[in-house]
Symmetry: C2
């Protein structure tokens, strides 16, 4: 069965097209969206390419979910309320099996976050997904990279390093139990979004980003933009259960956490006197939050039980 | 010389990052944009893939220009005022020669339209460009596909068919003078934007789209959404100078105009009693406007000097 572009869009991508504030959704040359008073629109866009950002033959459900997740992770990093999104998908063919799985994964997250799909396009070529996601920031209350202050504590949500382990397993850089890759890769695609916690976080924080290129690589963006330094205490890094399960070497797992990338967890700073309120918010949102360091005047060191770690930056780079 | 993603962005893609209403541009997880009172945001996204939407080894300047043009063409089709855009570019390598040309083409159009680039990403893979473009619609004054009325005249801007001729030449479906392909292809990449005319057009029209898939294929979207029919008079089709220059067969050029696609001209309807005002607006904006037909109650026929043309739809489809 051959479907033209318009039928494809109609069949798979109009599932949730509705939402307050969407004056005109899919079907015209543009979508029209309304923005409430005293509100800015947060705009982000991210691409996932086969063979670069995900392995060939990835389950389309996982890809659909993660394509949106990496974008809402940027919305969370600003403390924005998810609003709507557009989808540009390039496909080698119009496999309905692929589209069925992909759209289910995509809308699982979109519907949870009440984000209507408002527009997009399909085209032919090597598998690639670009999503642009939109969020609302009310009264200028947002999390920025340039707002870290000396003495702020540094925190991360969730655990770090599992997506990087999945990549190493996928490239056969190490071998573990037979189902280890499937288990780790699936978890690294179905990462939980931090949107509602991030909105609450604006009560105690003004500075955050999401970790896509590795904790240290991304922390450097905060430090550069804020004109500050930091100490990271590696023994505090929140590691996933699988690191113990597979009995992995500690130096190796430190490296996965520090520079592995693909975590899509929040890295943020909070003044020391607001830590107890932070932990209340984390508990009420059932989000694991771990203090991993402190903002300093300048310089960046990574310590392990009080000793300086020799750390060379190998954060994920495309080029 | 190898540049990381952040350096690439900084070197080539911050050239015009400023603009009223942009609260936060490139460099954080999201851009933050403000929307004036009583204004909706028009949102569109479009992708160009090498080998599908443009030929391999296309001059990067032309590609940069056209990547934005196809998106602002959607803004024009709504009557929106261009506001800002994001860029997602996938590159096989980080050729600075490519990036230099591409960014010059891109910003030539962006600066003309005063559209700041507010965000984006670069990644590695087969050459592909996805832009999301944003425009402002004030007080609900916009051009929609579902607003054609019986008796409205149908118009197009510019000329039709040259981009389709360039494609035929590129695929060697016909052979003409040695420089014919270069001449036609360049013109089909450097299409003039219709933004300022489209905003003026909202005075006399409520119904438009841009022709990307061919006049007839796109007219059908208006007819379906408006629940109407139409007659198109093929002898009225505005043809480019090159069709006469190369002494092309009339049936062939009719087909290029009717179903060739890639024109990125506006197709719109205007009530008959507003035609004289339309032509005043067209003249003041120095835009060629041609009446090519009329909206009917139902059905779609194409006539040539009073006789019905046997026309089978072969509008451009990706699948």
């Amino acid at each position: 069965m051959s479907l033209g572009e318009f039928n494809l869009i109609e069949k798979y991508f109009t599932a949730n097209d509705s939402g307050e504030g969407i004056a005109l959704g899919i079907g015209d040359d543009c979508a029209l969206i309304n923005i409430p008073l005293n509100t800015s629109l947060a705009v982000t866009t991210d691409t996932l390419n086969e063979g670069i950002h995900f392995f060939k033959d990835t389950d389309p459900y996982l890809l659909g979910y993660k394509s949106l997740l990496v974008n809402v992770s940027d919305l969370a990093a600003m403390g924005a309320q998810p609003y709507c999104f557009t989808l540009s998908i390039t496909l080698p063919d119009n496999s309905e099996e692929f589209l069925d799985g992909f759209s289910k994964g995509l809308f699982t997250l979109a519907n949870k976050l009440k984000m209507p799909l408002v527009g997009g396009n399909t085209s032919k070529g090597p598998l690639s997904v670009t999503i642009s996601a939109y969020g609302l920031i009310r009264d200028g209350k947002c999390l920025r990279r340039d707002r870290a202050k000396e003495g702020d504590y540094i925190y991360v949500t969730g655990t770090l390093g599992l997506p990087a382990l999945a990549v190493d397993l996928g490239y056969k850089k190490l071998s573990l139990a037979e189902d280890a890759f499937d288990r780790c890769y699936k978890k690294s695609m179905l990462i939980e979004d931090r949107c509602s916690f991030a909105m609450a976080l604006t009560e105690v924080s003004v500075c955050a980003l999401d970790i896509s290129d590795g904790l240290i690589g991304d922390l450097k963006h905060i430090l550069e933009r804020s004109g500050k330094g930091a100490i990271i205490e590696a023994e505090l890094l929140p590691k996933p259960y699988e690191f113990a399960l597979y009995n992995l070497d500690e130096d190796y797992t430190d490296r996965l956490c520090l520079s592995g990338g693909g975590d899509y967890e929040l890295l943020f700073t909070v003044p020391a006197d607001k830590e107890s309120r932070l932990f209340e918010l984390a508990e009420s949102h059932q989000v694991q939050v771990t203090r991993v360091g402190v903002i300093k005047k300048c310089g960046l060191s990574i310590t392990k039980r009080g000793r300086i770690l020799d750390y060379s930056d190998n954060s994920f780079k495309h080029f």
